[in-house]
Amino acid sequence: MSTAASSSTSETIAEPGLKIKVSTKEGEVFELDEKVAKMSQVIRGILEDLGEQNGGDDSVLPLTQVETRIFRKILVWLKYHAGHDKEEAPKAEEDEIIARFCEEIPEWDQKFLNVDQAVILEIMLAADYLDIKKLRGLCCKTVANILKTKTVEQIREMYGIENDFTPEEEEEIRKQTAWCEDEPPRQGSNH
């Protein structure tokens, strides 16, 4: 088992119960409450694997794709939701579709994700890596909502994306999507 903890700072979250140690890309070690840690399906899966193999208590799970600054943010989210969310049964696909398009982002999460878009993307990627579906979905929805309020030109400018269409291709797409030309950007809408 990894001993990434030996060369790093250790941050302890004082909570009762079983503690799980994880280390970030930079090698910083975090000690999490089991309930918080298991909100990541990846960590949950690893712990179950280790359980089968009698893994030691000193194990540190290396999360090599997650930077410390992003993990700190994710930890805030995990701790809040571990304390506030009810245990939910996995959603049926139709429920998931409705949630994706019709449910508002809760106020606390809106504030949490009120950060630079680059940071939201990084949280989204980390949430995907750690398999925290709810957080990943919230990040996606937040970014999608931002995109929906912008024009094509604004998006290109915002993200430094080059218009790489040939004039013919651009014309073809414009024809196909002409019906949405007079659609104003949908400010603040989930739809």
Binding site: E67, V76, M124, L147
Partner: protein
Amino acid sequence: MPRYKRKLSKMDHSTHLHSTGEAQPEPGQGRPEPSHPKLHFHDVHDIALDLVFKHVSLPSACVLRRVCKRWNDHLDAPFQLCTLALLNKDLLREDLREYIKERRNFVRNILYYGKYVFGQEDANTRLYQFCCMFQNVSDMQRIVLSEHNISSSMLRKLTEKTFPKQCRLFLTKLLVSDVDRYLIPESWYSLTIERRSGSTRIGNLLVEIDMNVNVEGKTEQEKEVMFGRQVQRMAHACATPMDEYEICALKTRLNRMVFVHNVPGSSGAWLEQVLKDILKQHEGPEFLFVNVVQLELGGLRPLTVRLVERLLMEIMSSGVLNNNL
């Protein structure tokens, strides 16, 4: 190699970060942080891009197609068209309907939300025509209708269309009007004038309606009965408890019936048993001990109320009640 390392190493997103050298402000949760590599949207790998685009409705996706080739490829790909989300007003556009029609074979799920459009008679027709567009799409999985004000007759027409066997119809946050005829006989219409009478509001529940009920060999009347059972099931699942106004109106009506038919109003073990049986069948166990003869009906749902009324009427008109009391 330990299993957890294998598991985590498989999950390398291979994102390409590049540094802008800018320090990023951290609103909300954060403290000032040192400069760090900034992730740009165009550097995000395909999986993440698709995850974001999965949260974009069709009209917005069409706008985003124009951003660049990469976005266009993602947004017009079959897997992205697999789930369509549309607002009622989107379908006012003939050209949008054509756009969807050309791509309908990729569609597996439709979420069609209406924002409770009132006063537009063609809204129901539009909904119906739109759903019917997909009836020959062999891999169609589900249609979800949300926030619509729909008539039960339109709903019935929809269930009689031939969708693929596996296709399921879900309703949520719907106001289904014109359900009375499935709850009580037509001759009772004049007696059901009360607030919200005849409508069933489906709240956050997700109700599944059987599709393809167009059974060959059945008469129109039999089909109507089959659909009526579905409406009753739906109404029962979604009905809210009665409010004081409704309770009072019901008490008055039942008392009047009893008076007109010269039935002693407060006695009759037989009557009590009959009503208890109705409660047992149509309400939860918590209502079993309600003293129905005393009309302690506070928790009854509107559907049960109508069943109680109908049964009383049938009993009275057949004279059974008088003979048994």
